[in-house]
């Protein structure tokens, strides 16, 4: 074997890698925000909603968690097309990512909600807090704080899964890498570079979650432990 690595194409292509990485981050960030909202609402609905809603959410969660993201994204992409809606690949990508991560978030947050002891709710009601106030201050907030590490891991996986949106030609990092390797014929080098960038991106996502956690969970900042 006499393969010599040649990374010289990077001189021309690094702006494209950067653009791809930037789009990956953007797709992930938007999906993270909406996925968090969707997942938390679903968790609440599944814990305390009417029977039919619980059932709908449970089905949604099970369907998403037991089918591959690749198939989900095809269905959503072609679904938009069949419905006569012209949407960009990026939009379809975000829609698929949000629907996907929403289900995982729902399960994680639900576990957090279930871990809050009844006595906490009782204490809050006895202090005269309304149902909504109790729900927010005593159930949802500490629940999310408790499952925050699990959420962090899941959202790193989300960022990595966004690579699959290259399959509907969203121009994120993996799609860019695919194009670069077909132009340069330096496939191995191209994917090594892409891999390294993804590793950096996962550190960035982790760091962002850590800093955000420090910001919104003062208890964490002060004691460094999880509840």
């Amino acid at each position: 074997m006499s393969y010599t690595f040649d990374f010289s194409f990077l001189w021309t292509y690094w702006p494209q890698f950067l653009a791809g990485a930037w789009l990956t981050l953007q797709l992930s960030a938007i999906s993270t925000v909406f996925g968090c909202i969707l997942g938390t609402l679903c968790a609440i609905g599944r814990a305390d909603g009417p029977r039919w809603l619980k059932w709908v959410i449970a089905s949604y969660v099970e369907i998403i968690r037991n089918t591959p993201f690749l198939i989900q994204i095809f269905l959503i992409y072609f679904g938009f097309a069949m419905a006569g809606l012209k949407v960009s690949a990026n939009f379809a990508a975000v829609a698929a990512l949000v629907i996907n991560i929403g289900a995982y978030t729902c399960e994680i947050v639900r576990a957090g909600l279930q871990s809050i002891h009844r006595s906490q709710v009782e204490a809050a009601t006895c202090l005269g807090l309304s149902q909504v106030q109790t729900y927010w201050h005593v159930i949802v907030r500490p629940a999310i704080e408790r499952v925050y590490p699990a959420l962090t891991s899941q959202y790193v996986l989300l960022m990595l899964a966004s690579s699959i949106t290259s399959q509907i030609s969203a121009e994120e990092l993996t799609a860019i890498a695919n194009r670069i390797q077909s132009e340069t014929f330096r496939a191995l080098e191209t994917y090594i570079v892409a891999g390294v960038i993804y590793i950096l991106l996962s550190f960035i996502v982790r760091a962002a979650f850590f800093l955000f956690g420090q910001l919104i969970f003062p208890r964490r900042r002060k004691l460094g432990t999880t509840i």
């Binding site: 006595s119 809050a124 006895c126 807090l129 208890r219 004691l223």
Partner: protein, 242 residues
């Protein structure tokens, strides 16, 4: 002057098990009533009924003018008048001591942040923990946590305080500091109902002792009743219950 709390022939069942079998007693304004009795006799259940945490099957309970047995009861109004402290503190672990205390005044009474903070420090002063405002519950000893729980209830300026075995999870030396806070409160004229195993404390502080046995009030009277029990059951309880 009408009673702050009055129970009239209260019945309460969990499924097929009748836990309260016609409980009747009153608590006058500024009075301290100690409820004693063997484990399982229904003390906690009675206390929880007073705060509408359990729905009663029959009978009448009136608390600070609120009719607990009335289906149209305004629970939030009731809870503005009644504070309750549990054996297990039930502080909110994700909030500091100060935030634990400020939460209800801010959410329920819509106090400004600075007013709520001033109030928190006032009640913390009362329980001797002004220096712990910034701590989190897990950083407190059991006795301190329980005093914070008391302070948290006091911040709502209740007309009546309920205590359910607030010292039974504590070491003897920590029990003292909590009992002292409760004694101060009693001397300050707070109406109180406390379920307790501390007989000496009941004798010293309570105006009235209610002895419950198998879901009924077996005997009731002034603290001195403990020195001179009338019923066989109370005598038995006092001799081996301690």
């Amino acid at each position: 002057m009408s009673a702050v709390v009055s129970l009239r022939d209260v019945h309460k069942s969990f499924g097929a098990v009748e836990v309260l079998k016609g409980v009747t007693f009153d608590v006058g304004p500024g009075e301290v009533t100690a409820v004693i009795g063997a484990s399982g006799s229904g003390k906690s259940t009675a206390l929880r009924c007073v705060n509408a945490l359990e729905t009663i099957n029959s009978g009448e309970i009136t608390v600070c003018g609120h009719k607990i047995h009335d289906p149209a009861l305004d629970r939030r109004a009731l809870r503005r008048d009644v504070g309750i402290v549990f054996q297990s503190y039930n502080l909110f672990p994700h909030l500091t001591v100060e935030q634990n205390i400020m939460l209800a005044p801010r959410s329920v009474k819509k106090l400004s942040k600075s007013d709520a903070r001033a109030l928190a420090h006032e009640v913390l002063e009362k329980v001797g923990l002004a220096d712990k405002a910034e701590s989190y519950p897990e950083q407190l000893s059991g006795g301190q946590a329980q005093r914070v729980a008391i302070a948290r209830s006091l911040a709502m300026k209740p007309k009546l305080m309920l205590f359910d075995e607030v010292t039974s999870a504590l070491d003897p030396q920590l029990t003292g500091e909590v009992l002292r806070v409760m004694e101060d409160l009693a001397r300050g004229g707070m109406s109180m109902v406390l379920v307790t195993h501390e007989m000496a404390f009941a004798r010293r502080v309570a105006n009235k002792v209610v002895f419950m046995h198998k879901g009924k009030v077996q005997e009731e009277g002034p603290g001195a009743m403990l020195e001179n029990p009338q019923s066989q059951e109370l005598r038995a309880f006092l001799s081996n219950g301690l």
